[in-house]
């Protein structure tokens, strides 16, 4: 995973709440077996509307998505994270994220930044007034800044460290393989296995 320390880019204001992962990437795109190439499915249904914000030329090349609350609800499809990343987004700002989406994002290096709804509203106003402004998401300092404002955000120290170092979770866990083996030795004998029955 690529380390994430700080990112500066233009922002895309998505004034919608409850953006579920079926909207981020519809199911018909999930038949692929790769991790790349999902950018064409990003918000596929909404993109058929020429006035949808992703289609507006003034926001082309934006890398920070600023969305309404409850972003990423619904299906656990990690394809939603891949679609956002494949399209070019590095960070998503929202007042509240669905748990599974947030977990998937942080695993894959897409930074989710939770800010109060009033702050999201401020950023929307600034970006809509001037789509050329840059927004900086600084993970090192846990701070989002934009022309005329800034706001701190919270992220647990462990996730922050992992993202900044670009560490692979599996590698980290396998450092504790002896603990796993020791735990396995204590598991109850009545627990089921999936071994086919005679």
């Amino acid at each position: 995973m690529e380390p994430f320390v700080s990112h500066t880019g233009r922002a895309l204001p998505l004034r919608r709440s409850n953006v579920d992962t079926d909207q981020i990437i519809p199911a018909v795109y999930l038949r692929r077996v790769t991790r790349s190439g999902f950018e064409d499915g990003l918000f596929a249904a909404w993109r058929t509307d020429p006035t949808f914000v992703l289609n507006l030329p003034q926001y082309a090349g934006a890398t920070v998505l600023v969305a309404g609350p409850d972003f990423g609800t619904g299906s656990s499809r990690e394809h939603a994270v891949w679609a956002l990343q494949n399209y070019g987004f590095k960070a998503v700002i929202s007042a509240r994220f669905a748990d599974i989406f947030r977990g998937n994002s942080l695993k894959g290096g897409l930074l989710t930044v939770e800010l109060p709804a009033a702050v999201v509203e401020q950023i929307w106003a600034v970006v809509e007034a001037d789509p050329t402004v840059s927004v900086t998401v600084d993970l090192a300092g846990r701070l989002v800044s934009w022309p005329g404002g800034q706001a701190p955000f919270e992220l647990d120290e462990y996730s922050r460290w992992r993202l900044m170092e670009g560490l692979d979770d599996i590698g980290l866990t396998l450092r504790h393989e002896t603990d796993i083996t020791a735990f396995e030795a204590t598991r109850a004998g009545f627990l089921p296995t999936t071994v086919p029955l005679g």
Partner: protein, 468 residues
């Protein structure tokens, strides 16, 4: 101090705990399907890692497979490739697979409990958000993404930050004609699609205790629609009776040892929850959704709400947008909404009890001419059991289509889809825009409401039907 059910199961699975780090949790059962696993197996292959515990892993084909002509090669080449990829991966890594055509094939969340693999006190994960279904047994069960699927395949563990706990207590008795689906839709409307964020919900109270295992699975299944990581119900005699004799349930002295552990899986009297919600079952009624998220629901007797009645501007905008997408006008009685399609199935309501309930309504009746009805059993076993009871004949005689097992129109990934502008009454779990096909409009309902709606062509409950 006492502990909640969720805390007891969590604590029993901690492999490693260290300050400032997530707990490393052991996973007892990992369920796999074709859609969220290919990239995880690729990751293993790239890193040269094996599946650590193939004997705690099981795969089935459900999301993407056709529900007709299941004995023929899958027509769509992209879908076929995904299925073949799962088959190759399971072969290469030694994972048990129930492919299309196998008697144990079906929706992953129907198959696990059916085989007796889902048991109280276990940790269960799957690359699917409706893994919360298995919480009905008092298991801690939750959906994960593909990176986590790879993590579990490689290590049989997951690093996790402790969940918060919420009690949803349903006091009293459900009125006649009110089902588990109505109950959970009412709960989601009450706490909202984000209200459960970060929580494990434990469903408690008299109304929950009186529910069958199948109804409990319907409840826990939709916990994710309230934003919760998981839903749980403490195991009791209903749970033990369901498990007894299942293929992978313990037997003999193992059963006794398991039972002794299962009986401890209750929230202690002096335990505290981080949040509590109490609902009176006796005031509940058949419930349907009118909008584009599962929290936008109302009793069937209500009218389409007026967006202006919402004080929060984002809620108001969401309601306006939902009505526009759904093609509905504020103030319209929900009973006047006409549908083209009725879908009976899914991991929410595709079990035998659901099919029986719908068949009871349809027996001796015919669906409206304007309606097509798809009946998709949750598993091949459910299909066989339904056929043994003659339920398939009831559905076919009523004019419905009797299909093979799978996820089907719940998510519109295979050919079973709504066309743009078509409207469904669906026993599934999500009414998101385009969920059942691009431009399709979904109303979430119980199996009983689905069947009655198929008869009248408008959102209806069985009590609305004249005696035939």
């Amino acid at each position: 101090m006492g502990r909640t059910l969720a805390e007891k199961v969590w604590d029993a699975h901690v492999v490693r705990r260290a300050d400032g780090e997530p707990d490393l949790l052991y996973i007892d059962l990992h369920l796999i399907h074709e859609v969220t696993s290919p990239q995880a197996f690729d990751g293993l292959r790239d890193a040269g890692r094996p599946v650590r515990r193939a004997d705690l892993t099981i795969a089935t084909e459900d999301h993407n497979i056709p529900t007709i002509d299941v004995d023929k090669p899958i027509a769509d080449p992209v879908s076929r490739e995904q299925i073949q990829t799962l088959r190759r991966n399971c072969e290469e890594f030694g994972v048990r697979l129930h492919p299309l055509g196998d008697v144990e094939q079906g929706i992953v969340h129907v198959v696990g409990p059916q085989l007796g693999l889902t048991q109280p006190g276990m940790t269960v994960v799957c690359g699917d958000s409706h893994t919360s279904t298995h919480g009905a047994f008092g298991a801690l069960a939750f959906g994960i993404g593909t990176s986590e699927v790879e993590h579990v395949l490689a290590t049989q563990t997951l690093p996790l930050t402790r969940f918060k706990t919420m009690a949803v207590t349903i006091d009293g008795v459900l009125p006649d004609g009110v089902t588990a689906k109505d109950l959970i839709l009412a709960v989601i409307a009450r706490i909202g699609t984000g209200g459960g964020q970060g929580y494990v919900i434990e469903y408690r109270g008299e109304a929950i205790r009186s529910l069958s295992m199948e109804a409990r699975m319907t409840i826990c299944n939709m916990s994710i629609e309230a934003g919760a990581r998981a839903g749980m119900i403490a195991p009791d005699q209903t749970t033990f009776d369901f498990l007894s004799g299942r293929p992978h349930a313990p037997t003999g002295s193992d059963w006794d040892a398991a039972l002794a552990w299962w009986r401890t899986l209750q929230t202690d009297d002096d335990a505290t929850f981080d949040h509590e919600v109490v609902i009176d079952a006796s005031v509940l009624a058949p419930f349907v959704t009118w909008g584009t998220n599962p929290g936008q629901g109302a009793p069937l007797s209500a009218r389409v709400p007026d967006p202006a009645s919402y004080s929060d501007p984002l809620d108001r905008a969401a309601a306006e947008r939902a009505l526009e997408y759904m093609g509905l006008t504020a103030g319209t009685p929900l009973r006047e909404i006409a549908v083209d399609t009725v879908f009976l199935g899914s991991c929410t309501n595709g079990r035998l009890e659901d099919l029986r309930a719908a068949a009871q309504v349809l027996a001796g009746r015919h669906i409206a001419e304007s309606v097509r009805m798809l009946v998709v059993p949750g598993s091949a076993r459910v299909k066989l059991a339904a056929e043994a009871e003659g339920l398939d004949q009831v559905f076919v005689a009523a004019g419905a289509e009797w299909r093979g097992a799978g996820c089907s129109m719940c998510l519109g990934m295979n050919a079973d889809q709504l066309s743009p502008g078509e409207r469904s009454a669906s026993t599934s779990n999500r009414n998101f825009e385009g969920r059942q096909g691009k431009g399709g409009r979904t109303h979430l309902v119980s199996p009983q409401v689905a069947a009655a709606t198929a008869v009248t062509g408008r959102l209806s409950c069985p009590a609305d039907l004249k005696e035939s």
